[in-house]
């Protein structure tokens, strides 16, 4: 797709263990060990259209937050490209890259740790737009009042400090700050995970309203499949750094193709009117330091065959869907 807002092409991220001095000396003398590497993100490609909400789902260690951080420019990519409106933003030093970075804003899980506790809400929200010349300092008061209203807070909130707000209100402040630089794209990394159910509904409704009003696109990173089902147009499922399945939300929830997605969807706690028996998938998520060969999921997969531990299944696209599983491509033998 050439009209994509964001295109991620063969993105990878390796984290390498930093050697201390003793280890470096040992290595020089030939007795050291190889530094441990984690392939946190492994050759990931997908795109996001303008105004689209894409859910990025995975369990701990799947690399979902790392992908979000690389798109937001908080982490350099080891390999691959990230295109924003066709321009590569992985090269961080050009002026146009910086302009693009302003268009991409990130909202984290814990609002308290992303708000400076010693700044008033007004200063927090006005800081970036004033610095980037979007507004003049003299316009700040009115501008902040507008932003606060947009996220459902009183204009008087601008005079207070972050600790004077509840968790849900703080998340609204973080959203107002992100909106202050008129972004086109928001990365929400577990942005509602820490909120109570009734407050979570309020913040999700706010995200949906902002999308309608401002035409925002979202990358919605979450482990909560219920939330993702509600808010996303398309869903990308990750397992140990690799994409295992991409599909439009309704198609995915109606008919998941990858055994991992199927298992994940079966385990989502849903409101039921009766007790039910839990039949969980066996085994633990393998350590990302030492993932199984072939398909990473084969150690826990009920359908795994000899081919699964030999070959990495490529992500095969058919129409709007994509699956990385040998079952979809000639079988597991």
């Amino acid at each position: 797709m050439s009209d994509a807002l964001i295109e991620i092409e063969n993105l990878s991220k390796l984290f390498r263990e930093e050697h201390d001095m003793a280890a470096r000396m040992a290595a020089r003398m030939g007795v050291g060990h190889e530094p441990a590497t984690v392939h946190a993100v492994d050759n990931v490609s997908f795109s996001i259209a303008p105004g689209e909400v894409v859910g990025l789902v995975g369990e701990s260690g799947s690399g979902k937050s790392t992908i979000g951080r690389m798109i937001a420019g908080l982490l350099p990519a080891t390999e691959g490209r990230i295109l924003f409106q066709g321009a590569d933003i992985t090269t961080r030093n050009r002026a146009e890259t910086k302009a693009a970075a302003l268009q991409i804003q990130m909202i984290f899980q814990d609002p308290m740790s992303s708000l400076n506790p010693r700044m008033r809400v007004r200063e927090i929200i006005a800081e970036a737009p004033v610095y980037h010349g979007i507004i003049k300092q003299s316009q700040a008061r009115e501008f902040v009042a507008d932003m606060l209203e947009r996220v459902g807070l009183e204009p008087s909130a601008g005079d207070r400090y972050p600790h004077q707000f509840s968790g849900g209100q703080r998340q609204r402040i973080v959203i107002a700050r992100a909106l202050a630089v008129s972004p086109q794209f928001l990365i929400c990394d577990e942005s509602v995970a820490a909120l109570d159910v009734s407050i979570q509904a309020q913040v999700l409704n706010l995200f949906m309203r902002l999308r309608r009003e401002l035409g925002l696109a979202y990358l919605f990173i979450s482990h909560d499949l219920g939330v993702v089902e509600h808010i996303s147009d398309r869903v990308v499922i990750l397992y140990l750094g690799r994409v295992v399945e991409i599909a439009p939300t309704e198609a995915l929830y109606a008919d998941a193709r990858h055994p991992y997605t199927q298992a994940l969807l079966a385990e989502v706690p849903r409101l039921s009117f009766e007790k039910r028996r839990f039949e969980p998938i066996k085994g633990e998520i393998p350590s990302p330091m030492n993932p199984p060969p072939g398909c990473h999921f084969h150690t826990r997969c009920p359908f795994a065959g000899p081919r699964c531990s030999r070959e990495v299944p490529p992500l095969r696209h058919t129409g709007p869907r994509a699956v990385a599983c040998h079952l979809e491509d000639g079988g597991v033998e």
Binding site: Q200, A201, H230
Partner: protein
Amino acid sequence: MTAVLQVEDLKTHFFTRAGVVPAVDGVSFSVNRGEVMGLVGESGSGKTVTGFSIMGMVDKPGRIVGGRILYQGRDLANMSEREWQAIRGRHIAMIFQDPMMTLNPVLKISTQMIEAVQAHVHISKEAARERCLATLARVGIPSPAERMDAYPHQFSGGMRQRVAIAIALLHDPEVIVADEPTTALDVTIQAQILAEVQKLAETSGTALIWVTHDLSVVSSLADNIAVMYAGRIVEQGRAATVLRHPAHPYTYGLIESIPSRNKRGGDLAQIPGMTPPLLDLPQGCAFRPRCPRATDACRAEQLPREMPTGQHARCIHPMQPAAEVAQ
């Protein structure tokens, strides 16, 4: 069936410099052998303090100021710490959200578990070790004999929680209080733990008090549900009844605000406003300022009333019989 544990009009208050915080204010419920009781509430509702009160673990400035906790005819609320030590861990055990609350990071799992066995029964170290191995195997830890001498940090989060559950099971307690034990875990691991817990309640007859904010999890696990709001139980009854025919507007709002229940992309039903500060509760029904059905009559104290569908709710304008939650 007779109740293993009965909580009657429990009041646990915190005496802070800013005033008295009624964290738990008149909570009553009971659990039977082999039953799971879901204690549901949002932050600040008093669900965790209720759990801690049952365990005799309320710290200063908090204190149980009223009510009784009856276990085998004895009132736990008035017991000394010495008496408590014979009961806690042996007859009533707790599982926390973070297994590192249970585990000491600098001691081997084996050391900690053997200590927990020998604290209550006089058996040899070898016999205690055997018992630990059997319990670890019961919660699904592969090759427990090898893993038992590892340190907590050498386990994954899910495995650590299994160890914490195993420690709670060491003495086959009659009651286990579990405070959000699966909240921090990944979905697939959460399902594994829930399956173990379910099996346990059925096979050993342990009564479980499952404290959580997650209605979806308790809905498939619990026999009974109590919904807490601002220190009180606002609705309690059989799980199926409370979930299908919620009577209290708060319960109804909670159920309707769960994302997967709602039409995709549409607005979620939301409860307006937020939980009131416990230091400054509204008069009468604490949910009144957020409630769409509230009238002046709600300014009066609301006592639990039996609903036509069988559960009890503290509400004079209940949703029934009109409300029925569609699945």
